[in-house]
Amino acid sequence: MNLASLLSKDRINLSLDAGKKDEVIKDLVYAIKKGAEAELIVSTLLKREELGSTGIGKGIAIPHCRSLAVEKLEIAVGRTKKPVNFNAIDKKPVSLLFLIIAPPQDPGNQYLITLGKVVQIAKEITKKNLIQKPETPEDFITMINDIEKGLAKRK
């Protein structure tokens, strides 16, 4: 599974308006779907957040859920202009978000594999202090690609 290949430039927003947690989630979802379908995804994501924040620490969050509103795995990335309170594990505000939405029927369990991979990549991003580094969506995809190559070599 190659994360960089699942990313698309038009779903990477590196100057997302900061706001409340719910608003930031909503902005990200609307990069993928609109209207009633987007609202369903937002409701499910917020229920997921109530179970425990997907803010994994050091400024990164990975909001995720399965939803009937999508037909295939969808990913959006956002970096907020200012850090946002996300009730993260380490209580630190979040500025980089990976949104992952999977369909209920998910052959090959692509959803969980992708989630695991994103967690791994997120840890590399924080370790190397790369959150603010990419200046364009293209830079961001290149960065993810490089990190993945590095991780593959280590194995």
Partner: protein, 114 residues
């Protein structure tokens, strides 16, 4: 099906998938935190949504969920994606009501046209 019913049904379905992921060992291994009290609240919320559905629909949903785990299936090019059987053409045409697949019984869902 009326919009509000459809909305409740879809959210119920999403929440049930959330609950089953939360209990899935391979999901737990990824390492996201889950608070015990909040997961009880989620189950309450799902039960509340179920009660808001018309009684018959709620009962069908529960039976199908037990049988298939996923009670709802999308329709694509007149095929039920639950059992991959072709649906009768006249069924596909009247997608305003609550319809079930004549083959597997799953509640059918038409994706909005973009």
């Amino acid at each position: 099906m009326p919009d509000i019913v459809e909305m409740h049904l879809k959210l119920l379905f999403d929440l049930d998938n959330l609950i089953s992921d939360m209990e899935d060992e391979s999901y737990k291994k990824i390492g996201f935190q889950i608070e015990e009290a909040a997961s009880d609240a989620l189950i309450n919320k799902r039960n509340q949504l179920l009660r808001q559905l018309p009684r018959e629909l709620g009962e069908i949903y529960e039976i199908l969920k037990k049988r298939y785990r996923q009670a709802i299936a999308p329709v694509e090019s007149e095929f039920c994606l639950g059992c991959f059987q072709k649906l009768p053409t006249q069924l596909a045409a009247q997608s305003q009501n609550i319809l079930t697949c004549p083959n597997c019984g799953r509640i059918l869902y038409w994706r909005p046209k973009n």
